[in-house]
Symmetry: C2
């Protein structure tokens, strides 16, 4: 099940946080490291995971690696997740106007 791999790549607080931050535009690894507050190497591995899953893309410019979301549908993805956490799935329609 390929789906599970993608979902798995997002199933971690730090990775959720990073993807959320990337929704506003690309960021380099050190930006993301500041955001999640983990070791550089750990962040790097999380990003490698997201990249393998196809969630993000990278572009090297100078010394930095800039990560960006590969698909803007992630916001809808999170919208559903949030609908579930709010325990009221019916709020989904209004909140996400789908």
């Amino acid at each position: 099940m390929v789906r599970a791999q993608v979902i798995k790549s997002l199933a971690h607080p730090a990775r959720v946080q990073m993807v959320d931050a990337l929704a506003d535009g690309e960021l380099c690894v050190c930006d993301l490291r500041d955001i999640v507050g983990l070791d550089f190497s750990t962040v790097s591995k999380h990003l490698a995971l997201l990249k393998t899953a196809g969630v993000v893309d990278v572009e090297k410019r100078g010394l930095n690696q800039f990560y960006r979301l590969k698909c803007q549908c992630l916001s809808d993805f999170f919208c559903c997740v949030d609908a579930i956490t709010s325990v009221k799935g019916r709020e989904y329609r209004e909140a996400c106007r789908v």
Copy 2:
């Protein structure tokens, strides 16, 4: 991060498969067991996880426990996931008409 817990609950091939099957309506544990082909106890634990995360609901009728999705937005959720696996996020708009 509460989001991560919900996503985590969906981050397993068997659970993805079960949620997908439940999209067509409620099913009892033995139905789901047949679908995923795992031990009864294992399936039961997976379902407990999904329930804790708020993804599914249960109703006991007779000897059976009927599980159903708590939120129909899961189809949109998977739609995004599929858009990512297809590596072309742009297909998302058409495929999921959002």
